[in-house]
């Protein structure tokens, strides 16, 4: 077991708490950078998706996991990002301009969606965001002059500094760099006053506002940041699939995004990335598993949805802390061996709290 002897306040806010973290994260980054040389083309293509979903997952985690505002409409932000990117690229804008515009436009839409969040909570907010998703989906389908409607829209390869990003490896590095930047930005935010204000709003709005936190400002900010990251993810997604249609941004996509956050582990950035990886790997596992199932079951078209649903339910019941929580438990089992006890992570029932005032 590792004991960290603290002699300086800075030790609590620095990026890496101890040498072990530097080593493991360094190793991870090295492996990710080396990945194009190590893995097959197919796996690399899946890694694109893991990166893209990680960015979106991080955005949603900020909103759901840290600010405590549920959203069932994130596919709409994904759509805003994707279509902005497609449109600006077809107008000949450089990639830098188009991806930043995608982020900013999504953020602006996020602010608009954030406004009802000032009055709505829990299930009502979920329904409002769900409605928003349906509205955006409808707009994207009908506004044919801009979005191409059901005909969809094609995207060309990205051009960066005059180079065309052809080939999987270069696009992979772009996605990887943006994922790393998003992670870093969120880690920074969460160790700053704004991140703490988000957590405060999640845990108790009433006392957050009594501590001087402007609820309206921070909730909108959280929606905007979350939407901006999702917009960036959407823009990359558009390039990845090279052809976007409204069917890619339905309510089911939104639910898939929420699944990332729940399976990964609510309230941890690691969780967003793990959840994204899981949601990409699971369909592969299902298709492998199909070989073992009787033909009558394996050929059912809804098999994947059923498995997704079951996995989600299983996580909510058996591991509410998600994959990252499971990892923490495994890690402390080995760190404390043989003293780990099953109750270590169990939380006490919370005490009665002041009457909810709104």
């Amino acid at each position: 077991m590792r004991f960290i002897f603290k002699t300086d306040y800075d030790q609590d806010i620095r990026l890496f708490q101890h040498g072990g973290q530097v080593f493991w994260y360094g190793l991870l980054v090295a492996l990710l950078i080396a990945a194009p040389f190590l893995v097959s083309e197919y796996v690399l293509s899946q890694l694109h998706f893991v990166c893209i979903y990680s960015i979106v997952g991080l955005g949603l985690m900020l909103l759901v996991g840290y600010t405590g505002q549920i959203s069932l409409g994130h596919a709409a932000f994904l759509a805003v990002g994707a279509y902005t990117e497609a449109l600006l690229q077809s107008k000949g804008m450089p990639f830098f301009v188009s991806i930043i515009s995608a982020a900013l436009l999504s953020a602006a839409v996020g602010v608009i969606v954030g406004l009802p969040a000032l009055r709505l909570k829990g299930i009502y907010l979920a329904i409002a965001t769900l409605a928003f998703n349906v509205i955006v989906e409808e707009i994207v389908t009908r506004w044919e002059s801009v979005t191409g409607g059901n005909q969809g829209k094609h995207l060309k390869a990205i051009e960066l500094f005059g180079f065309r990003l052809v080939g999987d490896a270069s696009f992979y590095y772009l996605c990887l760099a943006l994922t790393a930047l998003s992670c870093l930005a969120l880690v920074n935010l969460l160790r700053s006053p704004t991140g703490r204000a988000f957590v405060a709003i999640r845990d108790s709005e009433i006392s957050a506002s009594c501590m001087g936190i402007n609820l309206a400002k921070y909730k909108t900010m959280s929606f905007a940041l979350s939407a901006a990251l999702t917009g960036v993810g959407g823009a990359l997604y558009a390039h990845k699939v090279a052809f976007i249609t409204p069917e890619q941004f339905t309510l089911l996509t939104s639910i898939e995004l929420v699944t990332i956050v729940i399976i990964g582990g609510i309230g941890s950035l690691h969780g967003a990335v793990l959840g994204a990886a899981f949601i990409i790997v699971l369909p592969q596992l299902i298709s492998i598993g199909k070989d073992w199932l009787p033909a009558a079951v394996a050929s059912q078209s809804g098999l994947q949805s059923i498995v997704f649903g079951l996995v989600l339910i299983a996580f909510i019941i058996f591991e509410p802390l998600g994959l990252y929580g499971r990892w923490l438990k495994i890690r402390s089992y080995f760190q404390l061996f043989p003293f780990y006890r099953a109750g270590t992570f169990r939380r006490q029932k919370s005490y009665m709290r002041s009457e909810r005032l709104r």
Binding site: D10, R196, A197, D203, I206, S207, M211, N214
Partner: protein, 254 residues
């Protein structure tokens, strides 16, 4: 100039008059206590001062400025409060809870924070130093890195007091600081309240039931019953006031 004054404050919820025509003044540096039987409207007055409900009548003046707007404006004026049933940030550590108390002193912008520029680091370190002073005062060092969700009730109560102190308020509103505490913890609380008033010079307005604690720390006491003021004065004066005895024990006890 008055430090903190409430004039003719009243609120009604539908047909229920919760608080009616309450006026009082808190002088700088004193401990002013509001007592009264259950349902007298004590916590409601706190919620009115905190702008959690809009009052139906009257106004609240802090250093001759009217207190109005949203709850976070109250905190920005330098008024901090604690809650009767504890409203801490459960899934954060004690340290993080206290740091949230520093929020009104935070001035770094979002962009600086996303990049964690040296200015943010410097500000964070100074907030940490301020929080550590509170931790020292309240003896919380042992619990610094514990999640609030796993702490016993008595400690949570102290953390809440600490969080209010971390805002460096001019006026502190304590809603039943001793409720749910055992006699020993209540004793500690009395010492801290006295320390906060004398050493930090923070004015305290509190709601309290424990008459022992009230008489130990309060300069003046206001008694309420059914939303109306029935007596005001020193703790002994109020305790022996006939209307107060009647409110607590009923008319027959006289």
């Amino acid at each position: 100039m008055s430090f903190f004054r409430v004039e003719n404050l009243g609120v009604r919820f539908g047909g229920v008059v919760a608080v009616a025509g309450v006026s009082f003044e808190v002088r700088q540096g004193e401990v002013y206590t509001i007592i009264g039987p259950n349902g007298a409207g004590k916590t409601t007055i706190f919620n009115l001062i905190g702008l959690i409900y809009p009052p139906t009548s009257g106004r609240i003046l802090f250093q001759d400025r009217e207190v109005k707007g949203a709850p976070h404006h109250v905190a920005e004026l330098g008024i901090a409060r604690t809650f009767q049933n504890i409203e801490l940030f459960e899934h954060a550590t004690v340290l993080q809870n206290l740091l949230i108390g520093r929020h009104r002193h935070c001035s770094t912008s979002l962009w600086q924070e996303l990049l964690f520029l040296p200015a943010v680091r410097a500000a964070e370190l100074s907030h940490r130093a301020a929080v550590e002073r509170v931790i020292d005062l309240l003896d919380l060092a042992h619990y610094r890195d514990n999640l609030v969700a796993g702490l016993p009730y008595g400690v949570r109560k102290v953390v809440e007091l600490g969080r209010a102190l971390a805002t460096e308020p001019k006026l502190m509103l304590l809603d039943e600081p001793s409720s749910g505490l055992n006699p020993e913890e209540t004793n500690d609380m009395a010492f801290w309240i006295a320390d906060i008033q004398r050493e930090l010079g923070i004015t305290i307005l509190m709601v309290e039931h424990d008459m022992n604690l009230v008489s130990r720390v309060s300069s003046r006491v206001l008694a309420l019953n059914e939303g109306r003021m029935i007596a005001e004065g020193t703790p002994t004066e109020v305790q022996s006031h006939p209307a107060v005895i009647e409110a607590y024990l009923g008319g027959a006890a006289r």
